[in-house]
């Protein structure tokens, strides 16, 4: 009945307000205040060191291989390419049966890649060195969602994949059998991104969605253990701080924000009046001091995580930056764009 709904709504709102009050009680200092004694960063020079050309359409996603130099990227025209970014050689190419391949990931062993998009699936392709072999022949369909696949990543092995989808859910899958091991419900709209926590116990991950919420999940129980709702628009990207105690998110509201998991609150906002377009993708440098954000206005902004200031702005791409990842050893980062190219910056 509408009465019950009304009382529930009030109760929910009251709890929410109480929650915000509780969170605020222990907030005794701002990040930039604590960081006052930290040395400021000097002049920052980063240049494009490699340009990977070969996609025939918008680059939508990229992932690094653990060997620190190979990259897999996927594009709107259905092509998934594996590059040795150092030499810029293309090593493998797969044509997916669908367009808009929005998600791709490199397997930890380096022997396979996973990808998916408008086909609502996530498929795994083992990488073969036989030039004549058709990679698509050995393809394995793993995940099945009821709407587009927005992100995927392998857990600590080649055997499990975590996915997020436009159907509002995330799920954990067994690669060999294609069985769903766990599903994660709680977002009220499309889930656009996810990231695995680098914690000792390795059991949680964070997701962000079009409901402006980011949620932290327990992989074993499927429960949402923490959630944050301070962004003003879709969350396009989430990435853990290297220690695992916090994560950053990038949103269509043109801000990036930092959330601390122990303090259970937002602790920093990275924004600037001249930055009007949404952040599509974020990642930290190895020490966590720098946050790189790829934006829809074609630029990459580099933020000082501790001081909250913008250290540098990188021009170069000729269309939206859609994806950005720092290499596994932190020597460089790669950005992919709607201008069909990928760039390595160092």
């Amino acid at each position: 009945s509408s009465d019950t709904l009304a009382t529930l709504k009030t109760e929910s709102e009251t709890l929410k307000t109480k929650l915000e009050e509780e969170r605020a009680k222990l907030h005794d200092v701002e990040l930039h205040q604590v960081a006052e004694k930290t040395e400021a960063l000097g002049q920052f020079v980063m240049k494009t060191r490699r340009t990977l050309k070969g996609h025939g359409n918008k680059v939508l996603c990229l992932d690094w291989c653990k060997d620190k130099r190979r990259i897999v990227s996927s594009s709107q025209d259905g092509k998934v390419i594996v590059w040795d970014a150092f030499t810029t050689n293309k090593e493998h190419a797969v044509t997916m049966p669908c367009t808009w391949v929005m998600a791709c990931a490199y397997a930890p062993s380096g022997c396979a890649v996973a990808c998916g998009g408008l086909d609502n699936k996530c498929s795994v392709y083992p990488l073969s060195l036989d030039k004549n072999e058709n990679l698509a022949a050995k393809k394995k369909s793993v995940a099945m969602h009821t709407n587009y696949l927005s992100a995927c990543c392998f857990t600590n092995s080649d055997m499990q994949i975590l996915t997020s989808s436009g159907d509002g859910t995330c799920a954990l899958w067994d690669v060999e059998s294609g069985q769903m091991l766990q599903s994660f419900h709680g977002h009220a709209a499309d889930v656009l991104c996810l990231d695995l926590a680098p914690s000792e116990t390795g059991n949680t991950f964070v997701s962000g969605g079009c409901d402006k919420k980011s949620c932290v999940w327990d992989m074993r129980t499927g429960q949402c253990v923490q959630s944050f709702e301070t962004h003003e628009s879709d969350i396009n990207s989430v990435r853990y701080y290297p220690s695992g105690d916090a994560f950053a998110s990038g949103s269509d509201d043109a801000t990036c924000r930092l959330y601390d998991l122990r303090a259970d609150r937002e602790v920093a906002i990275y924004s600037k009046e001249s930055i009007i377009f949404g952040a599509s993708s974020v990642d930290f440098s190895l020490s966590g001091r720098l946050l790189f954000g790829g934006y829809n206005d074609y630029t990459i902004n580099v933020w000082d995580v501790l001081k909250g200031t913008r250290v540098s702005i990188l021009f170069g791409h000729e269309n939206r930056v859609s994806t950005l990842r720092v290499s596994p050893d932190g020597t460089a980062f790669c950005s992919g764009s709607w201008d069909h190219t990928l760039r390595i910056w160092a």
Binding site: E30, A35, Y241, E273, F277, S287, G288, A332, A346
Partner: protein
């Protein structure tokens, strides 16, 4: 950003929040006091009123946002690209030039954000005009619609009012007769065509609400840590890792992406004879750092063997194998682990407290992926609190640290314009071809103890 245009409760989603932000800035640009000074611009023989130069725009942005001219030009360019400002001289060439080229503000009617949902917006403008003209002239249902619209399309309300004012201004200039006719026509149109009252916000069921309430209750009860403690830890972490962050501080001998020299990767590979000093130092930052490095893990195993507690690390690795491995193989793997590590009299028996052992043995009756978690956690923390700190103080570690290499910085090439040859590396796909044939599962560097990698 998503392709889905309707949100879950069936209401049209606000498209592109960047447009709202741009419009806000455009409105400030036109502020009579703080905005750009508009004047007459000469275009050939005509004088165009209310115009400005490209330089005016760039300078205003530099001042307002405290940015460089390169960035101001970039931002200004976006306004031209999205149609909020248009050039007078070459109207088809949507480029902003930071010189005396003339530009004008586009009328709000043609703003990008007004393209959807059009009819609702038109109705809002109509109601706003009525409201402005004679306060309180709106009839009951119109008042309701006006308030509902004000709530729902609040993000474009500035535009609605602006457009309403402009239309009123334009109509004042018409002849009285014409004006009355147009007003009647408009009124009649909206009587017939007014948009239907849309469904109430948030069609949440009691079930969803209950879940949210439960979640909030649990969140309330959570233990939180003071911000000062949490934030201080970031400062410490960044400081500790700064020398290891190649983008922040460079790396020795050189960053391969910059010099094309792959020595840095060779010197830090898994199979290198002698590790670098930075690498060995990093093992002392946390137990995870030690275990995540294959070489560190090997060294630690050697140390544990000396202490006759190597079975702890082997057990932990076997548990990782179960947790991250193929679902179908779990029962046999768990059985193997039991035989080797947990069974009474097992060859590599691990010392777990009786409570955990009891719980684990009970769980083994129905083996699942996480059945060994408690036992694994117990052993992990045992190693972390006991063996790990002692390893860091041991001769084995100190010796290695003393012998570890500090690479020489690569001398800059005598001929800086000559690029070094970029060597390719063996593909990881090749490295485990044989492993695949053996039927071994493939694991990542960080957690594997069994299959070999790269």
């Amino acid at each position: 950003m998503t392709i889905n245009t309707l949100s879950q409760d069936g209401v049209q989603r606000q498209q592109m929040p960047c447009l709202t932000k741009m419009e806000r800035m455009i409105i400030s640009m036109q502020d009579p006091d703080m905005g750009i000074k508009l004047r007459n611009q000469r275009l050939l023989i005509t004088v165009i009123p209310h115009a400005m130069t490209g330089l005016d725009i760039v300078e205003w942005l530099i001042k307002k946002c405290s940015i460089s001219d390169e960035e101001a030009l970039h931002v200004g360019q976006l306004f031209v690209k999205y149609g909020y400002i248009y050039p007078l001289k070459e109207p088809r060439n949507l480029i902003l030039k930071a010189d005396d080229s003339s530009y004008r503000f586009q009328t709000p009617y043609y703003w990008m954000s007004t393209r959807w949902p059009a009819s609702e917006l038109d109705y809002a403008i109509y109601l706003a005009k009525k409201n402005i003209r004679k306060q309180g002239e709106l009839i009951e249902y119109e008042k309701e619609c006006y308030n509902a619209l004000h709530k729902r399309i609040n993000h474009t309300w500035d535009f609605v009012v602006m457009q309403a004012r402009e239309q009123l201004r334009a109509s004042k200039q018409r002849r009285k007769g014409d004006r009355i006719v147009l007003e009647c026509q408009e009124q009649a149109y909206w009587l017939v065509n007014r948009p239907p009252v849309s469904p109430e916000h948030y069609k949440l069921t009691t079930l969803t609400k209950n879940t949210i309430i439960e979640h909030n209750r649990i969140s309330l009860a959570r233990n939180r840590v003071k911000s000062s403690i949490c934030l201080e830890s970031y400062v410490k972490y960044c400081e500790q890792y700064q020398p290891h962050d190649p983008i922040m501080q460079g790396c020795l001998p050189s960053n391969p992406w910059i010099t094309d020299d792959i020595m840095f990767w060779n010197m830090n590979s898994e199979t290198v004879a002698l590790p670098t000093k930075l690498r060995v130092e990093r093992w002392s930052f946390s137990f995870m750092e030690l275990l995540n490095d294959q070489m560190g893990r090997k060294e630690f195993l050697t140390y544990l063997e000396k202490e006759f507690s190597a079975e702890n690390l082997c057990f932990w690795q076997a548990c990782e194998d179960v947790r991250h491995g193929e679902t179908a193989k779990i029962p046999e793997k768990v059985d193997e682990v039991y035989k080797q590590f947990l069974a009474p009299g097992a060859s590599r028996w691990v010392n777990i407290d009786s409570k955990t052992m009891e719980k684990t043995l009970e769980g083994l009756k129905r083996p699942h992926r996480f059945v060994l978690d408690d036992a694994q956690m117990h052993i992990y923390f045992l190693m972390k609190k006991d063996s790990y700190p002692r390893y860091l103080k041991s001769e084995l570690y100190k010796n290695l640290l003393a012998r570890a290499i500090v690479p020489q910085e690569t001398k800059k090439s005598v001929f800086p314009f000559m690029r070094r040859q970029r060597h390719s590396s063996p593909s990881p796909a090749l490295a485990t071809q044989t492993a695949e044939d053996d039927g071994k599962a493939k694991y990542s560097n960080s957690n594997s103890g069994t299959a070999s990698r790269l």
